[in-house]
């Protein structure tokens, strides 16, 4: 399982590097869109998870 996960991360890294090389020179805004969208989606997801943690903390009186 760990090997598979490592392979997945490796593939993601290679795709990212490929995008950087492909888009870096001529398509900076496209690359910004890829990075920005991933960031916005992850921040929104983290916000939801954080709300769960806040609710649990409130319920347990912490």
């Amino acid at each position: 399982m760990i090997v598979l996960r490592m392979l997945l991360y490796l593939v993601i890294s290679l795709v990212t590097l490929f995008l950087v090389i492909l888009l870096g020179q001529r398509g900076a805004w496209y690359f910004a869109w890829v990075l920005g969208t991933v960031m916005i989606v992850l921040i929104a997801a983290a916000g939801g998870a954080l709300l769960d943690a806040q609710e649990e903390a409130k319920q347990s009186g912490r």
């Binding site: 920005g36 969208t37 916005i40 989606v41 929104a44 997801a45 998870a49 769960d52």
Partner: protein, 514 residues
Amino acid sequence: MHDLQTVLVLSRWQFAATALYHFLFVPLTLGMTFLLAAMETVYVTTGRQIYKDMARFWGKLFAINFALGVATGLTMEFQFGTNWSQYSRFVGDVFGAPLAIEGLMAFFLESTFVGLMFFGWDRMSRGKHLLITYMVALGSNLSALWILIANSFMQSPHGATFDPATMRLELTSFTDLIFSHDAQAKFVHTSIAGYVTAAMFVAGISGWYMLRNRHMELAKRSFRMAVLFGVFASIGVISLGDALGFIDGNAQPAKLAAMEAMWKTRPPPVGFNVIAFPSQKQQRNLFDIQIPRLLTPLVTRTMDTVIPGVDEVEKQAMVRMKDGIPAVLALKTLSADPTNLAALAQFRAHQQDMGYALLLERYAPDLTAVTPADYQRAARAVIPNVPVIFWSFRVMVLAGFVMLFYLGIATFCSMNNKVQERRWLLKIAPWLIPLPYIACEAGWLVAEMGRQPWTVYGVLPTWMSVSTQSVGYMVFSLAGFVLIYSAFIAVEAYLMFKFVRQGPDEGATAAPAH
């Protein structure tokens, strides 16, 4: 009856009407898919049922919007052939590829995965379904990418050259076409505007639920995720709007002059008109309020670059019309005798200004006998509708900043988990749902009306692009589109209100969050 001027006006109205109707559906699709992906990501990583309920509920609203969006988009592509056949013949070699890829992206990738996304919840693993949701998000945004690349070519033609042998524009570099600065900035600006639309939509409905103490678990989480999603997207939209203004300002000085109601060229740094009442007829502002010295750094990134006003744009257009006349006359010779090398050389020497002479031809059909009055009228026509563009731009910008302000406050309150106590914040939320739509429509008015009198800026005038339809056909089809699309909007509004009032599945969301 073939009244060219009437057919031209009606064709423009028809395309504008269908495009504006269509874009009432598009932004929500672009943004909602990624917001659904974010919700489902939390479901897959935490296993909490509430996030699945969220994804399914908002997915239902997305489905209504998606179906009507696809239906309204189809007709626009047909209009290129029916109403703009001269344009299609002229730019087909360049325009066809992105349009075809857009069709394939929209109907093959996006539509295939949409089906799996809606009906595959209980038929595949969580991970696979999440992957499908991301593919829908990617597919919808990539289909927007290709149509925006095509649109950017009209705004700032790159990667093509006019071939006098075939009398049309031909593609010389596909990479120049897709990597033009205008295409890049326009795509990111438009796509992220969709994110903001989805954020305002979800936040508005979630706020409405929280005010009524309904579906609290779902509404709180949806509100939190939407405002976080939206606040970063708003910053992105404003940044890219600034970049797009800079790019378009350089590529289309007439549009910039119209956006800023700048009639006279003045020494830099010039002021920014916050409010103005421009008079196109008198070529001056009847009233204006300015912030001194702001416009020059805003659109040139310097303090000493001259920004051409309407007077300078008209003067330059006149020079280019005079320079372009030999190119158009050479084309007429070449159409009769394609082997005439002298005519070919003459065309090559004046090719860059051919479009301006074609524009002049509308006012002076005989280009060998053009009067100063003809030049004057044609130069005036180079300036688009200043009052509409000036105010549309300000409406868009104001709406953008209002949304950023609201989303900023909402994010702060939500992160402190105190949003339920700020009832005023929740009361405002549903009323702000129309704001991103207004901003998007105003933005397209600036982009498209600002491009006039060209279909391909500086190359092909709009008057030469239109088909030779009859006035009766145009009136009938325009009325038909308006009626049918208005019915679509009414259906969408009815279904949205119905499903929002009905709410998510009570059994699932009333249960504890995990």
